[in-house]
């Protein structure tokens, strides 16, 4: 408040200075009352017209424009928000579908794998059975062959040795004595020859 009074006193003193100055230089046109009435009249007229036209015609239009722009922007923002929500929802749906189908694909793959494994195992079992059978057959053959092999060899050895003796010394040798010798030899060296 004191500040206000201080400034006002400055303005008053300025006014007095102006008046003093005007008195010295022979009058300020502002203080000549000749056209005061005219100025008041024209000021009232022009300012009145300005006020009426602005307040009745122009300012409501401007405020209308501003309001409508504001509401339009708000509407647009709302619409954009809605669309964003919609798109988010759709994105979620899409992701759900994708994850579902992924799961399905995995299931199908697993099924197929299990089935294939089962098939392979079944076939393998069959094949294994066949192979085992053949192996056992072959082993049997081998064992029969092996069992009969020393006798055959013995007979061959007896025959060849009797023929050899006949050719070498030209005399018949008793087959039973030769077979006794061969038997004795084969018994002694059978291990060496057959690896049993």
């Amino acid at each position: 408040m004191i500040k206000k009074i201080y400034f006002q006193s400055i303005f008053f003193s300025f006014l007095f200075c102006v008046e003093a100055f005007a008195a010295e230089s022979g009058g300020m046109p502002q203080l000549n009352p000749e056209f005061w009435i005219s100025q008041i009249f024209w000021l009232t007229l022009t300012f009145g017209v300005l006020y009426v036209v602005l307040s009745k015609l122009i300012l409501p239009k401007i405020s209308n424009n501003l309001e409508s722009r504001k509401s339009q922007i708000l509407e647009n923002i709302e619409a954009a928000e809605k669309q964003r929500e919609d798109s988010e929802k759709k994105l979620k749906e899409y992701e759900e579908i994708i994850s579902k189908s992924k799961l399905e694909a995995k299931n199908i793959f697993n099924h197929a794998r299990e089935k294939a494994l089962k098939d392979i195992n079944a076939k393998r079992e069959v094949l294994d059975g066949q192979i085992d059978e053949e192996i056992s057959k072959a082993e049997q053959e081998i064992s029969t062959l092996r069992e009969s092999a020393p006798d055959k060899i013995n007979t061959i050895a007896i025959e060849t040795s009797s023929e050899l003796i006949q050719k070498l010394i030209g005399a018949d040798v008793n087959n039973s004595s030769i077979s006794a010798i061969v038997d004795d030899l084969s018994k002694r060296n059978g291990d060496k020859y057959y690896g049993n």
Partner: protein, 244 residues
Amino acid sequence: MAANPMTQFDVYRIGPEIKLGALDISFTNASLFMIISTVAILIIFNLGSKKNSLLPNKIQLLAELSYTFVSKMISDTAGSKAKPYFAFIFSLFMFVLFCNMFGMIPYTFTVTSHIIVTFVLASFIFIGVTVIGFIKHGFGYLKLFVPSGVPAVLLPLIVVIEIISYLSRPVSLSVRLFANMMAGHTMMKVFGGFVISLGIVGGWLPLSFSVALTGLEILVAFLQAYVFAILTCIYLNDALNLHH
């Protein structure tokens, strides 16, 4: 132009003398510039409010920016209760601004450099604000002169000071605008005279001063219009929201 820097403020009659009873209401150069300012404001704001495009063009932007500027100024200083007086303060601000700005064009007349014009404007405001205050608060409006929290001993003095300061409002308001305008224009005229009298050799210094002063005066023209409007808002605030 005459050498006397005060002749730019001369008011002279244009056309015949018009009398309304005993009163002389002749059309003068002051009336001419009042009309020019009014018409300029109306044309600009009419163009600025004609079309309602979502993306405003330049003149629409100008009108809308001034609208929001004044509206923000009022709501900041006087609150939402001052909304009905928006049109008055807007016209006041625009009128003073345009009169000041038209005064900056060489060879024009500055309407607001006349104490009678600013005093009439200030009296409008003073009377209006006082009437509004009494309508809103009845005789309670007189509490404006009794600030709260003042010791009882000082109260008589304070009340007298408050009354004087209240009554001096129209004077301070009008003299502020008038003195600023007159002083600035006189100074520019004086420097202009120096340019002529010092000639081609020494005239450059006052010329540069004159250029700088033109910028300053344009600032002052805007600032004084703003101050005029904002003080009106403050007075209105006193009348509407009675708390000191």
